[in-house]
Amino acid sequence: MNDSEDKLDELMAGYVLGDLSPEEAEELQQFLERQPEKIQDLDSLKATLGMIPYALSPNNPSPKVWKMIAESIEGDRQFQPIQKRFSLMGYPLMGSIAALLLILLGWNNYELRQNLITAQTEISYQKDVVAMLQNPETHLVSLKGMDMAAHASGRVIMTPGEPQSVLILQNLPILPNGKYYQLWSIVNGKKVASGQFNADKNGTVLLKLPTPSALEVSGLLITLEESSSQNDHPLMVMTSSL
């Protein structure tokens, strides 16, 4: 193995452990662009990390745990018809808008339906999004990923006069502890902090964020930040323009 391969291995290990510096992340990206076949080595390192718990001494939960799970499943089944009353698909107009939303967002239908039905907070977001989409003044702003988040995409749905916008992102890299994403609004050429968040385990973000008046915002920007340090040049991960 030569020095270059050693370096690539080290960077891949750092990626899996979540300890790459922005410079190292860029270096790794360049390596992988030249040697895409090495991406499978990332998977084997992830698998290796996931095996560590197997070395723990055997230990089992008490029988009551499965009993509680079974009761919860049964409870879900009984609750399902009530939840369906909140489903967007029950309302012809809202159903059409929801269908449009699904296409706009390019989300997996099945996963979205599961998520929307099962989480009360997300139902609330759906209603807000639908209400916003019914407003002809609502802006739908695209965000495109760059650098470490090249595959990320999403939308911000904002309405002039409304204090909150809805941020919907997908395929964002999941961050290690101590790091977070920062949304910035560009107002009069200056960055205004507009909220912090992390992607969930699927790389998805769905949340409400306060924003300045949409009329004043000329662009949006998402950067990668570290809670433990003050970085004057954070890595830009997504950007947009209005």
Binding site: N60, P63, I73
Partner: protein
Amino acid sequence: MDLNSKNSASTNLKLQADATDTEVWNVLKQGQSQALHLFYERYSSLVYRLAFRVLGNSQEAEDLTQDIFLTLWRTRNYDPNRGSLGSYLTTLTRSRAIDKLRSRGTQIKFLQRWSQLMVTESSSPSPFEAASLSQRSEQVKAAIAQLPTSQRQVLEMAYFDGMTQSEIAKQLETPLGTVKSWCRQGLLNLRKNLQNFID
């Protein structure tokens, strides 16, 4: 036995005890709770022992175990094409356990070495689960035992205690760059030691 790669045309809704994880997953997606029960028999011990190791008490570990399997059932977000179910569950469990740890506002101190983790089994796993888990456990234990002490120690601190490398460097009074190198080399060496098991 590899739970994920066994070829079989049997994906009907009647589950056999030796069905592959992918076959069981396809049944679970149909809303059959017997599939979740089979996964619970196979992986509850792994999920619980990890939750217990991170959280340090049985009540919270049991609550988290329940939460993990209900998440698997309700969200159905696992994708067999992206890795093994064991890896998915341990990643999810570790992430949520460390979130809970941090939400307590206190860090569990790094007190235990691998060899000191002697826990008595509270119940017997099924024969299938026992064979599969014990085989995996022995392989991974042996692979970890071959790591240099420094690499093993920092991997444990990062993985189980959710410590950042800066926190580890401070606790071990070692330069951050050295800790980073130990972590990375530890993971690479572990992969080398487990190579036959991964492929």
